[in-house]
Every structure is written in structure tokens, then in C-alpha cells.
Symmetry: C2
Subunit: 476 residues, 2 copies
Amino acid sequence: MLDYDLSSRGSLSRFEYLYRRIRDDIASGTLAADEKLPSKRQLSRQWGVSLITVESALGQLVAEGYLIAKERRGYYVASLGKLPSPTARPLPEHVPGTFREQLQIDTSRLPVQPDAGALALWERSLRGVLAGEDLDEAFSALTPQGLPRLQADIAHLVAHTRGMQVDPGQIVVGAGAQVLYQLVAELLGADAVCAVEDPGFPRIAKTYEAAGRRAVPCRLDGEGIRMEDLEASGATIVHVMPSHQFPTGRVTSIARRYELLGWASEDPARLIVEDDYDCEFRLAGHPIPSLASIDAEGKTIYIGTFSKSLGPVVRAAYAVLPPAVAARFQERLSFAAGTLGVIDQLALARMLEDGSYESHVARYRRQVKERRDLLMGELASALGESATFEEADSGLHMVLALSLSEAWQGREREAEERLVAAARKEGVGLAALSSYARLPISRDGHARFVLQYERLSEGDIRRFARIIGELAEKEL
Amino acid sequence: MLDYDLSSRGSLSRFEYLYRRIRDDIASGTLAADEKLPSKRQLSRQWGVSLITVESALGQLVAEGYLIAKERRGYYVASLGKLPSPTARPLPEHVPGTFREQLQIDTSRLPVQPDAGALALWERSLRGVLAGEDLDEAFSALTPQGLPRLQADIAHLVAHTRGMQVDPGQIVVGAGAQVLYQLVAELLGADAVCAVEDPGFPRIAKTYEAAGRRAVPCRLDGEGIRMEDLEASGATIVHVMPSHQFPTGRVTSIARRYELLGWASEDPARLIVEDDYDCEFRLAGHPIPSLASIDAEGKTIYIGTFSKSLGPVVRAAYAVLPPAVAARFQERLSFAAGTLGVIDQLALARMLEDGSYESHVARYRRQVKERRDLLMGELASALGESATFEEADSGLHMVLALSLSEAWQGREREAEERLVAAARKEGVGLAALSSYARLPISRDGHARFVLQYERLSEGDIRRFARIIGELAEKEL
């Protein structure tokens, strides 16, 4: 028993060799359960190693449960039950490392490459933090909702741009809007229902559903989410994008906003989530005031994000919680805030304070507007009278409506699918508006597509318009 | 109607003044629903402003839903229904900006201040990224699970330190372990049950419950989670900390590890979550091999974190998913990975590649061990024979057991609460082991406390031991 030949240990240390041999002998049953081992001194002599090495090896096996140490009586083999016979671990199946499709022009999904200006801004701000901030002080000041300095900067931002007068303590930061969606999902009781816009941003319903909550799609009309659908849904939370709905681009009318506030005030449990994901990018006129800014009863959770202006350089978003919600939520707030590092928070604070964020947004807005104008012009020449553009001013995407010939009336969905498939063959990503809907959408003889153009180059835009023009003529 | 005097507009722009006046007149009913406005040219003359200013103001009000533009017919006042009378928005209640208690010595919660070495390491690595990395290339390579380069570095790390042979594609990164807990919670069907260790880390059960899943506490014995409790729980997922359980510090025995794997293999739906939150900090002997490294059937989701070694400088953690789980999960993976910015991922990759992370961990482990040795020595002299230390070698916390006098037998919980309250009055945070338990725990005449000592200074440790010694004598 235990007659190991240490000269055959190869490159293993004495400890490692003895540890493995004993472990394997216990696992294979060569050393039987409850067997008592010789004393440490005997083993030290037998193996020709120091007492410390013996103690280390046996101690490790005790820690792992292969041996049991009984006080003043020595070491015993543990009873392991029937162990599976040792087998080589099978190689894992291949898990693809990347799922991003290799499309060259893609208006059907958010861009992966950052805007060069956003990247330069972020790098400069991070360098500033590393060179100039007192990090110890920042860590000391940290709260479960974020850095007080960043909270104050965001309070100033929403006052300045969205007409909201809020206490910095109402703000909680997190690593992207989806972390905040999750925070909201958890506000709801397990049986509660969340009403979502349909068509809508797919991740919203999915986040509520993944959190075990029921999401009920509600149709839209020209003024926003339909109140009769909302009333029928049984929801206690409604998640809307009043400034610029995705994907339709529609702006919720002021009348519908007050109807939503009225709906919320009927029941203390009801809340509105205002998802203001691209409010900074209205391309004509002035920003639409936020729903939260006209809410006198504290029923609106406002979610803003830096994803449109800075993403994917940094993942950062914030929620403005009504005071009563903040109080209910204390325990969960540190989860959200804990996802955004202190250094990232300081870098955001710096760019909000020195005005460089505002300049970046203004420059980026101009650039996006130029791209949109070019895209509209190119598509208008390529498609002629059949093309109209819906909600082209409200933000970073718009809807292309193609009026269809007699032959396609009643088969609009089919026409959309045909064009999407044909485009895909050309390496062009195109998304039908209807692909964002769970409910049937009413039809009017048009095929509709959502165009997210913010990061397309001039060349991409021209090529895109030419291809779509050719395909529309050939396929429809 | 609309007879506004622009000379009284103060500092407002012409646009802003006209926009506000018309908006307020519509909201108050001065301009009645369905009323037709004069033509833009008439208004331009009447107000003495340019046609463009009139168009901007009316356009904005159309966008917001106060006015309706009818093609070739002009502007009409929208029907808003009954609006609430305009009231000044009440000031929000005060929401406290910080909830952190002002304790001077706190062994009852995780530290907020970073280790100076960790902060210096992170700053250096971030600077390296900003100076030396091709960020465009990094963004191009990004996958929904993280940066392939970081995945490969982590695969190498777990092979080297935890004996796990994994494909980099099995790894997903996220902004902290809790984001990954949430990912796991969402694996479960809405009615599924998760078994958790009791006593345990409170956030684990809370995360499952917040996600609408049922968490069932299971008692521990000397070898780990009790199998009879697990069998009775009806759980499909068991969340364990086999290398170093929090708060008891216990190591799951090898026999119990195989029992857990056996339990998982009985049902295709069953999975084990191995939460290896401080595996790098075993203070004596060698690291315990991971449960995942002996799992031949792909039933174990392994969660590792950089929070113990780097936190709170950066929030970063990773999961190693069995291939079948990774495949089931594709859609949700981008949520987790999307919480950790590309620059942070690059900074982590650099420190893993150049060896500076490993040196930091080795240095930090030595420092923690010195603190632990000092704390044990000081407490032993202050408390004498009544103090014993449990699981002092397994990681970054240990359990202090105080043997109680006759008078306190059967009232151990009361004794613990008394000492915790007395310590709090002295500015000392102390946590009873039982405060981490939902189920009653068996008693043996000892009061037990969890000591998290990793960031205490030498002075704090001496003061802490002196105060606890005095209070134990006085109170117990």
C-alpha cells in the first residue's frame, strides 16, 4: 500500500505526485474506504520526503474530501460511494464563436462598429480620468445607484434637454438599457402583466418574458399605443417609446400622453416606462418634451441611454425613478449600478461636464442627417413615385413604404418577404416592418421596411439604393 | 385669437415664445378643438416673424400632437380631451443618495474601497489599451459572448488554475457575477425551482426570486449541500459554491461532488451552477480542483469572477457554459456580454496575457494571508480559549466561533444578536453566521460570526479584536 516510487514522478513536484497517486488510488478503490493510513512520520520515511510534503499532500486530500483526519488518530480513507469509472473528458462540441452575419450593408440591425468621433471622445475622457481624477475619493462616494457626481450631471442633462426637474438621488445608472429593463421587470409581481407596443423593439417583450413576466402586445394607431388594447391587457406596467417609437418611428401625441397618465393614475400599482432611447436625435424641429416632464403624479420611470450617441464604445444607460419607486427598489438598485464601473462613470461625468458630450451629439446628429438626406434622395431616384418615407425626422431610423401593384394587393407580407430574401442574396440586410410585430398589422397596399442608416457610409448608401431599386423592379 | 405680442417674449426666441403660447392656449382650451388656424402667411404677417419661424412652431406642435396638419387645408387644433389643469410639479421627496452606513470597521459586508494594487494594475492596463490597441479591430471581432481574445485568455486561465479543458467559445463575459446569475435564472422555465445552499450568499436566492423563479434553501452538512434536501426540493438547478462556501467557508467533499454530478445526470433538464467566486484565494495548500473539471457529461455551468481580485475597480465575471447550454442560450448571450465594454475587455485581456494579473493575485493573496494571521492572533489573545476559527484557510473570509457559557446554552442566536448590536454601537460591523440562513440552523453552544477581513488595515484589525474581546466579556 502506498508504495510509490518517487523517482518515476517525471516533472511533477513531490507534493503533486503524491497527491495525485493517493487521490487516484482512492478514486479507483485501490485504497478502500475507512482504511487507516500509516502515520505521517512513517510515510515520510517510506517515501523519502519531508514531513511537510506529506502533510501538504494529505492536507490537500482532506480539504477535497478524499481523506478524513481524525484528531489524534490519524488519516482515514473517505467513503466515496460508487464513483464513475475515470474516463477521458470528451472534447466539447464546437460552439461557434461568432454569430454576426457577414452582411456588407445592413439596415436591419444596430451597428457594431462605433462612430469614430464617439470612440475618440471616449478615449480622451478615459485618459482624463486616469490622469486627473482622485479615484479613492470616487470609490468613497459611490452609492448603490451610482456615483453622486454622475447622478448630478445626468439630472442636469435631463433638465436641459428633456424638461425634467429631478433630484439626482432619483437617478440610477447601469450597463445599458437592458439592465434597466430587467430592473423594471423585477418591480412587477410574478403574475403581473406588462403591456408593450406592437410592432415594437423585440428585446423589450423578451426581457419581460425572460424574467418570467407576461408581456401583452398592444396595437398602435396614429397617436401611439391604443388605449382600448391597453385597458384590455390587464397590465400594470406599460412600456412605451413616446418620442420615437421603434420601429414605426411614430411620436405619441400629447392627447395620448395624457390618456396614458390618466390610465396610470387610476390604480396605485400602475406605472409607465418611458423608453427614450434616441431622444437626442430628432432630425428636424426641437426635441419632443418627455412624458415624464408632464407627469405630476410620479407614475413614470424614464429610461435614457448613451447607446445611440456612444455605443458600442461604452454600455451605459440611466433610469429616473419616481421617488416612491426608488424607495420600493432600494435593495435592487445596487445590482444595476454595480454593472457600470467607477472609471466608466467618471469618464461619462467628465464629458457631460466639459461640454464635449453635447458637441459630439450635435456633430453626430448633423452627420446622421446628411446620411438620411442622401439615403432619401438616392432611394427616391432609384424607386421613383412608389417610394414614400414615414417618420423620417424623428430619430435614427425611418420607414420606407413601397406602394405595390395590383398583383400584390392582399399579399403585402409576401412582397416584403420576397424583397428581404432577394436583398439578402445580394449581401444587403433589410427588415420588414411586419417582422417586428407579433399581432397582424393592417394593410394598405404598401410593403414597409425599417431603415437604420446611422452608420452606413456614403458608398454603402448609394449601393444600397441601387440594389433595392433594381430588386424592387425585378421582384415586385 | 393668436394675438400674441412678441415684444413681451423676454429672453425667449421667437420660435420658443410662439410655440409655448399656442401650446398653452390649446392645453387650456382657449383654442378650441377642431378650430382651424389662419394660414401660415397670415400668421407670419400678423406676428411680424418669418414664414420659417411660423412653420417651425406649427410643425413642432404637429409633431407633439397639439395641432393636426391636413394636406392643402391647413392646421387644425387637435382634440385633446380633458386635460388636467396645469399645476406646478411638486418637488420630489428626498431620495437619499447614499445608503452606505458609516461604519469604521466592517467585517459584515464586502469592501467598497479597492485594493491599491488592483487599482494601479487596472489603470496601467487601461492606459496600455488606449495607447496600444487597435480598437477598430477589436470592435470588428466582437461576438455576442465577448471578445474572442478575452475568451481565449480566460480558457487558458481556467485550464491553468482550475484544471478545465474548455473551448473559448464556451465562455461568456458579463459585468459581474450577478449578470450571469440572471442569465442562469432565465434558463429555467417559469415554474422551475432552483436549490440554493443555506446558509448562503443572500443575493443568489434573491436573484432567482427577483427573476420570478422559486429558490428552495437546502441545509448543509460537513460535506456540502445535503442530498436529501436537494432531492426533496424538486429543483432542476442547484447553485453551489464547492470550493469555498459562503458564509460557512466549507469545501464540498469529493464524494458529495460526485453525488451532485450523479443527481444531475438522472434528468436531462438538471444542471449544476458552480459558483467559484474566490477560488484564487485559498490561503493554504493548493486550489481545490473545480467541480466542472470532473464533470464528464457537460452538466456544470461554471461561474468565475474578477470581483475578488480586482473589484470594485472593474465589474467583470465569466461563465463557462457546457456546449448544450451555450446552444440553448444563444439569444440571451448578447445581453450578458453586452454589459461589459470592449475597452474593459481589452484591459482584462492584456493583464491576463502579460502575467501582471497573476502577479497581482499572488501578491494580494500574501497580503490577505498576513491580515488573516494577524486577525487570528489578535482575536486569540483578546478572546482566549473561547475562540476557535473555522475554515480559515479556504478563502477571503472565515468563521469565528465563540463557545458560550452555560447561561447562553439554547439561546445562541440571542447571544449573537447581542454582540452584533453592541459592536454596531462601537462602529463595528459584525455579521452572525445565522443571519445568512433562512432555515433554522443546528446549535452546539457556540455563537458564530462571519469575518470578511480582506481590506481591513492593521490598525483596524487590532482595534476590532480589542473591541470584540471587551464586548464579549461584558455582554456574554
